[in-house]
Symmetry: C2
DNA sequence: TGGGCGTCTTAGATCGTTCTATAGACTGGC
DNA sequence: GCCAGTCTATAGAACGATCTAAGACGCCCA
């Protein structure tokens, strides 16, 4: 296993000094076109790649954004994907750290800090406000998909109130009056959506029925069975996976969706888009949120803007699981 | 944003030298119990955390394992999870790098290299043998879930031949003779499974029917529709997601599973385990494979064992989508 | 011809660690 | 009372990059 070449090696090969090679490698001003070519040539021949440990250590700016995500949430992967794209465009790099089984969020974040990240993007953080504030005192922190994080952090989230309102408006316009909400249990943003649902129904003079649910198909399945006892004409689920469970429990009971009952999801995740599912859903447009979070983090870093809470309005994606209320 | 404390700060606070603090922080021998306590106390008060960039740069051993995974494959997240657990047990750390949209595998790997990883674990690598060999010449590389990677890499994979054989034995024992295989298209390990299926069927004197499929529900759905034209008594799918699509197309056609036709998946992923799905499946036991890959990487690093190709035999998980062949 | 200026280049300090070599203190054996 | 041996502590050189300040060089103009 041969040692990897260093700046010094390239310098010797090209017959110049270390510093000059450094200048060329980072496209900094201070080298003539001729030497630039000569150095690049030598670097390529040696297969030189700058050692990011050394680079990160020395430079004041690491241009590194830390992203924490959860392995148990497939949705997060879509966001990570978009974050990479966004960061690259603005010349930043991304360091990932997962919160996994036996690896709490605090550990994930600490490791990003130790790596020299300049800003943090936390996807659906579960830490308490004070802990988050502790981190935010050291560097810009952007909370993605959760907005009740205090004034010292940025947040980029989707307007849950608006999302639920849009959903209810749509269902109302289809003639639905007996609408049930299966909530997200103790999932992040479940309380907001639940309250928005209650408020929206109250505003229409309708009775709000909330069934305890959760973030997974299992939870939806359980809630769906409960709904069967007194079937509403439409169900608004906490998220798509939950909606899928609900849908399934209806199918198992021989009910047709949407003829007998409409089911509306939330997230517009890949599950909703599956051709045989074709779930109507409230879309938060995660890639767009991810881009916004990245931009927010970088803006905080480069300008001196104060933390802000960015809220985007979700929109409805109508597919095949919603229809007019049955007579 | 105050500067974070360094070794030097702790040393001054504790009234000892830098080197001694370093010794204490690494739990290395060479410090008395008394000073150890004193230093630890000072470090805690200052909120000191070692800077991993500097640590990684200086130390010959970084104890870092690089893991590359794909954001578009939910299955990979389960593996990452298990890898973290495995690495922690053996005192190693993990650096993640995702291959995402617009971020090819080579880039993911390079960035892990630049970070100073001592070994690489690549989940279902898609690079060519020669490129992989190029990396393997520099450090131990373990390919996870793919075994045709040449002699210079390690691989930890599941025995596809055995998996298919077990599946066919099981289906045979249930009286199935008209068995179809929906393959994985151009997915990794699709060819192996397809050939194993052909061989197994030939060995039983049965006609093998292979339908082009893929790795997603969509692919399964398409293949399922094709199967409807001449329904077999059992279908062996490339993976669970594909099986789900097949199952769905059968349901849509009013067929009962498993009474009219059995469906068998592959992977035993979280999708198969969903209570309303209860898909019978060939389990590769991914967490176990992940652990094995981590162990393999570390063993290569610590001992001087040559690369090996570890193959684990999958096992069958029988749930509700398989049953006796209809008369 | 020599001083001033801008461009190209370089030496050397620096980032925060780990590591090697060595100094000092203390013990025990002869 | 001295040397060997162990243990604790320290100084100083790495690691591989970036950054600052200053040197070398060419060119123009007086």
């Amino acid at each position: 296993m041969g040692k990897r070449p260093t700046l010094m090696d390239v310098a010797e090969a090209a017959g110049v000094s270390r510093a000059l090679v450094s200048i060329v490698m980072r496209d900094a001003p201070g080298a003539s076109e001729a030497t630039r070519l000569k150095v690049q040539q030598a670097a390529k021949e040696l297969g030189y790649r700058p050692d990011s440990r050394a680079r990160l250590l020395r430079s004041s700016r690491t241009r590194l954004l830390g992203v924490s995500f959860s392995t148990s949430h497939p949705f997060h992967a879509e966001i990570v994907d978009a974050a990479y794209a966004g960061a690259t465009v603005r010349g930043y790099d991304i360091a990932l750290s997962a919160v996994a089984n036996g690896r709490p969020e605090s550990r994930a974040v600490e490791s990003l800090l130790d790596l020299g990240c300049e800003a943090l993007i936390m996807i659906s953080p579960t830490l308490g406000e004070d802990e988050l504030a502790g981190y935010a005192a050291r560097l810009p922190v952007v909370s993605l998909l959760r907005d009740d994080v205090g004034e010292s952090l940025d947040s980029v989230s989707s307007d849950d109130d608006a999302g639920i309102r849009i959903a209810l408006e749509y269902l109302s316009s289809l003639g639905h009056q007996r609408i049930a909400h299966v909530d997200g249990g103790d999932a992040v943003s479940s309380p907001q959506r639940r309250e928005a649902f209650r408020a929206g129904m109250a505003g229409r003079g309708l009775e709000s029925r909330v069934i305890p649910g959760g973030a997974t198909e299992e939870d939806g399945l359980r809630a769906g069975r409960e709904l069967l006892e007194d079937l509403p004409t439409a169900v608004l689920a906490f998220n798509d996976r939950c909606a899928l469970g609900i849908w399934e429990s209806f199918r198992a009971a021989g009910l047709r969706v949407p003829e007998d009952v409409s089911v509306l999801g939330y997230d517009d995740s890949q599950f909703a888009r599956l051709s045989y599912v074709q779930l109507s859903s409230v879309s938060q447009d995660a890639p767009l949120l991810a881009r916004a979070a990245v931009d927010r983090a970088i803006d905080r870093l480069e300008g001196s803007t104060p933390p802000a809470h960015l809220v985007r309005t979700p929109h409805l994606v109508i597919r095949n699981t919603t229809g007019p209320a049955p007579k």
